[in-house]
């Protein structure tokens, strides 16, 4: 259960709207079902009261929406940021992607978000309604009584391995501040590293062969804010609209991960939105882990203006061969 309530957020947003501090609110909008929530811009209090929601299914990271919203809206945009969103927020500021003065950021604590597939694994399909309270109550077509699901059991992968409950940017904080956590997010990477090359190849072959190049991972990614992505640009020499073969599947994901290496805050949106359930975060985390191991701990977005490892160096960095040898 989330620690702050939707009505707290609505009240605060309504107050800021009415006193003119902000002229629009970026928030989560009620969907067709209780779990399919859409990011939306709310212009007035009535709109907020009608459809604004905040519950265990509000995974969307709004940082990237600020690029468009700050350009479109006159006056300030109010944005609600979960702890992990604040890292993306800072990273975008580091890259001068939006005007900080046009944003009023409210940090909100987050207890982790639920993965609907995991919920369905417990409740079964045919969900008619979901009520988020102490537990998640799921009513389905096929169960006589609502099924009670613990949030902790159905957390999205990124939330189960949450790196930080601390907000690194905000103008105002609702609720209590959390801490940077000692997460186990690199364990899975380490497990892969411990496999033989053949096993790793098979693992990635299986996953990446499912890629349909829908670009959802890229388009949702707060680090992917290029005006024109190389994969959309015929002049780049790597553009394609489909992964024509196994090479292109790998090429796309290697280059994408490389382009966001050092800039990726590990917000996990890529894996969340992948329709084919490809564990894309394992590519990004590999780069993060390698950079941490070899160039010192670095968390993208932890502070505005920090210098990412790949646009930095020290005189005694390890050689490429040493980086590989070190891992064995």
């Amino acid at each position: 259960m989330q620690k702050v309530t939707a009505s707290q957020l609505i009240d605060r947003a309504a107050a800021l709207l009415s006193d003119g501090s902000v002229s629009a609110v970026l928030g989560w909008k009620q969907g067709e079902f209780d779990y399919d929530i859409t990011p939306a811009v709310f212009a007035d209090e009535q709109a907020l009261r009608d459809a604004f929601v905040w519950n265990d299914f509000c995974g969307a990271n709004f940082s990237k929406y600020l690029l468009k919203a700050t350009k479109k809206v006159d006056g300030k945009v109010l944005v609600f940021l979960k702890p992990c969103d604040t890292y993306s927020f800072n990273q975008l500021l580091t890259e001068h992607r939006f005007d900080r003065d046009k944003v009023y950021a409210i940090g909100i604590p987050c207890e982790g978000m639920a993965d609907i597939d995991k919920v369905k694994a417990q409740s079964g399909d045919g969900i008619v309604s979901i009520a988020c309270g102490e537990t998640i109550q799921v009513t389905t077509l096929y169960n006589d009584a609502p099924v009670s699901v613990e949030l902790a059991d159905v957390l999205e992968e990124r939330c189960a391995n949450c790196k930080s409950k601390k907000h690194v940017a905000y103008d105002e904080l609702l609720g209590d501040e959390g801490d940077v956590l000692d997460s186990a997010r690199f364990d899975e990477v380490a497990q892969l590293e411990a496999m033989t090359p053949d096993e790793r190849f098979a693992f990635w072959q299986e996953h990446l062969s499912r890629c349909i190049r829908c670009n959802a991972c890229r388009d949702v990614c707060p680090a992917c804010t290029c005006e024109k992505c190389v994969f959309d640009n015929p002049a780049s020499g790597v553009e394609n609209k489909a992964p024509a073969n196994e090479f292109e599947e790998k090429m796309f994901h290697i280059i994408r991960a490389f382009h966001v290496a050092g800039r990726c805050t590990d917000c996990g949106e890529c894996s969340r939105v992948c329709p084919q359930n490809i564990p894309l975060h394992l590519l990004n985390r590999k780069f993060i882990k390698d950079m941490n191991d070899n160039y010192g701990e670095y968390q993208a977005g932890a502070e505005v203006g920090s210098r990412a490892p790949l646009v930095d160096f020290t005189l005694d960095d390890p050689e490429a061969a040493d980086v590989l040898d070190r891992r064995g």
Binding site: W204, F258, L324
Partner: protein, 145 residues
Amino acid sequence: MQVNGEFKPLIVAFCCNWCSYAGADLAGNNRLNYPAEVKIIRVPCSCRVNPTFILRAFQRGADGVILCGCHPGDCHYTSGNYYTRRRMAMLFSMLDYLGIERERTRVEWVSAAEGAKFAATMNDFVAQVTALGENKRLEDLRCKK
């Protein structure tokens, strides 16, 4: 590539203009042999080499890619090879993570005075890639003859 039933790897070597390309020239001046499978592409600095170039080489049929630059501290542009070192360390580690043989990629620092090192490096790298055999894990079948 199979030549008379024998595997001959195709090696692309990116060499920086100031040190390694000159080192390769010196190997030539001193008539130090290395296999003709090595084809050199001249770049101003090793830091000019985009990971895309390396993947492209593999896509098009290369069996190994080697990057040569000035020794750390000797970069003509003062710091280019330091960036190269980080970028390639990360890229090659990622390729390894994807199960692609780590022996197919290498970074080597070769100065303009190290003709012998250039030839020795190329001999060694060609032998290493030959032992691995054909690149199958990063190939694009459309590009095979």
